[in-house]
């Protein structure tokens, strides 16, 4: 395996809650790697720490109340982002690592034209003149497939549709040709047809520009279509990590299994519960009080005593390839016979 572009080791991002009700361990010991040029999908439901993980990488966590605990380690091209000076960090933000946010409606500044906003990163990092930056902005608009870029460059965000604004966001992020693009729920706010277009666009741009993409989503469908590898997060931890085909063919963590079973399917007749959609019972516990033992055990159909008492580490599931290709945080791996739900 080549040297990874981004290596996150044991990332712990905690938030001190205001009313003294304790510390929210939003991200609690997350490790993963992103290889140059690959797409890594990060999946999980709301509140599992996906967004906090991505904000931690760019050190955009509001401090206080948040802080990244000592012992955490985020290495980008061999440099530890957590020890960089603010100036060095700014030189990386938007230049080497760029980010797309979830809400194209609120992530664009309403008082500037989209051209100004796309040009911003180029002006900050490459000291382009205003004229050159404008030309660059038009190029970027063309690249992300916005018609009439010469005219659109002077438009304000409110004059554009949601899909177009997300294209503008992508143009903003890519203007300096970053090596890593963090896309935090890039399609969640869009309707399905636009969603497909945006994902296609991201795929095409990734191939053209040769960048790596961290695709954060709660939608397994999005991941299945675009990601090379998938990291599944639950309750601030990585619970399963595998190449996309392996994950979909053989989900090993009960949470992954539940997520996959929850996806409505058109091809297979609904098997369970009189045609109702499958759901994972219960809800994500509060980040201030994760359950003891395995954090998924209160919702897990297979849970037994060991799960309640002892927190499982990430275990290697083998399954061909190098060790660490497919890892799972579940005791079932040590006792596969228990994989038959009681009740």
């Amino acid at each position: 395996m080549t040297e990874p572009l981004l290596r996150v080791r044991d990332l712990q991002t905690y938030f001190v809650t205001e009313h003294g009700s304790g510390t929210a361990r939003a991200v609690d010991g997350v490790s993963f790697e992103v290889q140059p040029g690959e797409t890594l999908g990060i999946v999980g439901e709301s509140g599992c720490g996906k967004t906090v993980t991505s904000l931690s990488i760019l050190r955009l966590i509001p401090e206080p109340p948040g802080h990244i605990r000592p012992g955490s380690f985020i290495e980008f091209e061999g440099r530890n982002l957590l020890t960089l000076k603010p100036r060095e960090l700014r030189a990386i933000r938007g230049n080497q690592i760029a980010m797309i946010f979830q809400e194209p409606m609120t992530s664009l500044n309403p008082v500037f034209t989209v051209g100004d906003q796309i040009a911003e990163a180029a002006i900050v990092h490459q000291r382009l003149s205003r004229r050159a930056a404008r030309t660059r902005a038009i190029e970027m608009l063309r690249l992300v497939g916005i018609p009439d870029p010469e005219e659109r460059v002077d438009h304000y965000p409110h004059q554009m549709s949601g899909g177009m604004r997300q294209r503008v966001m992508i143009a903003m992020a890519l203007v300096c040709h970053p090596k890593l693009l963090i896309a935090d729920e890039p399609t969640t706010a869009l309707d399905v047809t636009i969603q497909a277009q945006i994902l296609e666009l991201l795929d095409r741009l990734q191939a053209e520009l040769g960048m790596a993409v961290m695709l954060i989503t709660h939608d397994l469908g999005v991941v299945a279509g675009s990601a090379d590898r998938v990291v599944v997060m639950y309750a601030g931890q990585v619970v399963e990590q595998a190449p996309t085909p392996a994950l979909f063919a053989r989900p090993l963590h009960p949470y992954t299994e539940g997520l996959l079973a929850s996806v409505p399917r058109l091809d297979a007749p609904p098997a369970r519960e009189h045609g109702r959609l499958h759901g994972i019972p219960g809800q994500v516990p509060a980040a201030t009080a994760w359950p003891d033992g395995c954090r998924f055990h209160p919702r897990c159909p297979y849970a037994w005593d060991r799960c309640r008492a002892e927190a499982p580490p990430l275990l290697d599931a083998g399954g061909g390839g190098d060790p660490g290709t497919h890892t799972v945080r579940c005791w079932l791996l040590t006792d596969p016979r228990r994989r038959t739900p009681h009740s």
């Binding site: 700014r90 990386i92 938007g94 760029a98 992530s107 500044n109 500037f112 911003e120 990163a121």
Partner: protein
Amino acid sequence: MNLWNWLALGGAAVMALTIVAEIRRHTRTSVAGRRFFRHPTATPGLFVLAFFVTVALAAPLVAPYRPYQQIDIDRLADHAPSTRFLLGTDPYSRDVWSRLVYGARISLGIGALAMVVAVTIGAAVGAVAGYLRRWVDPALMRLVDIGLAMPRMFAMLVVVALWEHLAVPVFVLLIGLTGWFATSRLVRAEVLSLREREFVSAARALGAGTGRVIFRHVLPNAAAPIIVSAALGIGNVMLLEAGLSFLGLGVPSPVPSWGNMIADGWHKMAVAWWSSTFPGLAISLVVMALNAVGDALRDALDPRREAA
């Protein structure tokens, strides 16, 4: 007043009307523009302001005499308004109309410049406090509390009394330096909500530094409260200037300001009412116009407060 002066005055009125019409035409396409002009006092207020500004700029054309010229101290002091002296003459036989016209330069100029100083400081302090939070915010806001608790007129009186022959630029600076507190509070409140908006994170993710984020990304979004507080603040500043000048502590005589013109004529009110009354009317008219325009601006730019 000769024919030329009358023509220039008429020209100024036409000019003011044209300015109002142009502003109206250019803003008609925007929601805020339409809302502004829907306000019943917006158009007359804007006209009064445009008129006085035009007259002030065209002072040499509109004024028949030089503002310091004592025409005939023996026979033409306290001359009643007539065709020769439109608003009469003051006790020193100076033409009140001419002084009023030149005084507009001083009074409007001081008001505008002092407000620019105040709004600049207020916006910067408010934005920095609201964006940085931590210890900066309480520190700056306590300073603002002190500033707001200070009786401004008396503080100015003390400074002005200690400092003889105050130059006008220093006077302007003083008014500006004591006038930014309310603006900074407004801006801070706005920035507190703006800083949580996603485009701020987006700007930081692009690599923009703190200064750039505050002044380029956040502050332009707070333009509405800044503009409104500036428009409403100029009126206050003009009243303050007039008050101090009336007391003889502001703009030094013989330079005409509307405040010291009132002072020049007030002890003759019983026999020559015109030399104090007209500058007084001018102040009232302009301040009312400023408040009318400020109110309309607030309704236009800040629709949330409309209901309140």
